[in-house]
Point group: C2
Chain length 431, copies 2
Amino acid sequence: VEAGDQQALSVLMDPLHAADIADLLEQITQSDRADLIQLYDREFDGEILSELDESLREEVIGFLRPDVLAEAVRELESDDVVDIVEDLDEPHQEAILEHLEDADRVAVEQALAYPEDSAGRLMQRETAWAPEHWNVGQCIDHLRNAEELPEQFYHVILVDPKMRPLGNVTLGRIMSSHRDTRLSDIVEEMFQVIPVNQDEEDVAYAFNQYHLISAPVVDESERLVGVITIDDAMSVLDEEHEEDILRLAGVSEGSLSDTVSETARQRFPWLGVNLFTAILASVVIALFEGTIEKYVALAVLMPIVASMGGNAGTQTLTVAVRAIATKDLTGANVWRVIRREVFVGLLNGLAFAIVMGAVGVLWFGSMELGYVIAAAMVANLVVAGFAGTVVPVLLEKMGVDPALASGTFVTTVTDVVGFFAFLGLASIMLT
Amino acid sequence: VEAGDQQALSVLMDPLHAADIADLLEQITQSDRADLIQLYDREFDGEILSELDESLREEVIGFLRPDVLAEAVRELESDDVVDIVEDLDEPHQEAILEHLEDADRVAVEQALAYPEDSAGRLMQRETAWAPEHWNVGQCIDHLRNAEELPEQFYHVILVDPKMRPLGNVTLGRIMSSHRDTRLSDIVEEMFQVIPVNQDEEDVAYAFNQYHLISAPVVDESERLVGVITIDDAMSVLDEEHEEDILRLAGVSEGSLSDTVSETARQRFPWLGVNLFTAILASVVIALFEGTIEKYVALAVLMPIVASMGGNAGTQTLTVAVRAIATKDLTGANVWRVIRREVFVGLLNGLAFAIVMGAVGVLWFGSMELGYVIAAAMVANLVVAGFAGTVVPVLLEKMGVDPALASGTFVTTVTDVVGFFAFLGLASIMLT
């Protein structure tokens, strides 16, 4: 493909959707990317920029000729331009803004005035609205002659004389009703208004919880300023999930197209925290050096207790982190959930205590060792159930994202408790 | 609230959305749930059943009086009924089906004939369509007189005489165009058709990737049989994400309202697998019992090497699992990603080798011990980068969900390599 044949390239690329082209650009090497963009130059679609991973946008924008960039950006809707521009550094931002028409530039600049990750950044400013007293016929005639309509819209928003939204009427209902039906008679039952400063995470939650398709956005005086549609909410939901999954594993951000040193640097802090907690666990082990010297079997078996506790703790904390995110775990049921997880830990602790006790006895021929590992197993799985729920709940209370920090705390607890219980019991029982 | 005051309850509950009532039912205890439902009985909304967690549906259906249940179900759309019915056991299924009107029952039974988790189960059967040669006026007149329209629709689907979908026209475009505009002139650029047997995961991917709002569903002969809307796709996406997060932590399913023994049983298998791999790591340690007996410091430090490898491996595999799910990691770039992760492991391995080497020397006053732990650290983080990418890719190739099984394999590899490298090097260097 990279043989420099521009015509062949166009034939191959034209049937592809912008999202697929963006994926392609993300998957090839940096030099291939430069070549490809230079070849494909003249017909570069602004949508590709929208779809591209944030980390690559600056690079790709740097490759584009100014006139091509101008053309690409001018095709886009204002909320897509905001999405592109907000992550760029100053010079790149200005390069894009100066290519926009005046009205669009003002719109983008106003959107950028809202806080990052707020509904104001997410919304589109063009809305389809109608006064509450109109009927279907008036509404259709108005829409047919309106100049500034959103490219995609699914509801007409009914507003009062002060431009405060009163309800949504679906286009489907409008089209299937007679011209003299009053809009206020066919208004949707479900109606949610989004404050312009609301966090986008809460916006996505509302869409998902109430199955919204679009929702009007209002300012502090409850006046209509824009509309958010489900596709925007869906991409926020997708990003939030992605973030949660990666945070649970201690990966903060980044993409497959980052360089080796960028990625290494991103992963370093979490590994550093883990090193610190691992050393903490080692200090606990060091307390019992004398016992281990006498019974090497302890060194062989001790990682098992810690590892089981870590796994049980991770299971519990993942369930808790998710339940907090979906608002299924609240003040109302937190104690019941903790009690449940402790009993789950007890039950599985007993089951694995029997298995590991038997392994200890058979492998090392010592009843005492069997008892010790069995007791440590029960203790550690109970603690895992407790810490796995309490830690994320407390972090949430303290305003820290539980997905980000729970893992470290919980495995520190299970490591320390696991080693301490096992080696401590051993030093009492075996000496 | 549970004082038995039916009127007060209605006042409290009526303003709530069905989704919120379902959340409430999920958070209270089983006996409170029974009381609440009996009180709220007469006005039980079918939507609440839709919103309720699968694990609670049978319980709640059991509490409802047959006539209330019949009323509740009859209000629902056929795709919601399918969603409720498909997870129930036979007697509950029939209890619901017999309350439906004949046409609805046939529709539900036909949907159930499609494979589980396929587009056929997800779609609604009512569609708004128009012949390709119609103009806007004909289309509006038709919709105004049509009897069987979907409750929510956003596009009119253009079809050829054989009922094969040709394109989508948004309602917004129809309403803002003049009556004599041909529908085929205002058709959407973006158009995706979904085969009825397609997996719902792929359906959600297509909606997310191409920003679809609704898409026609076709059977084997490419005839239109239904339509899937973005809200259905959004809930599938949400479920898939949930599943991925939980699977990465070794939790297969379940909810906060399961009983203790159910939850313990669900978590047991993964802990069992972990026990097996932990024992494998212990066998490696046992190979070096003699060396540990002489140098107890090894027992103190060895969990650090394993833990760092496990964490680095988890970081890598989470990124890889996500990249596979979002189709960012494909055959085209797999070798480049593996090479990159190995180098990231090398870089962070070297960094932590210096730190840990210094800790080893300072703590135990032995240069040799410092060298050993440093070398083992580098080796284990490189292996973590390699295994963290290769394992999920291979699992995916073998048709196993990489989210489910990667964790075990990768941490087994890092545990075994970590202990073997550290203790093996120690037995050579220190003796």
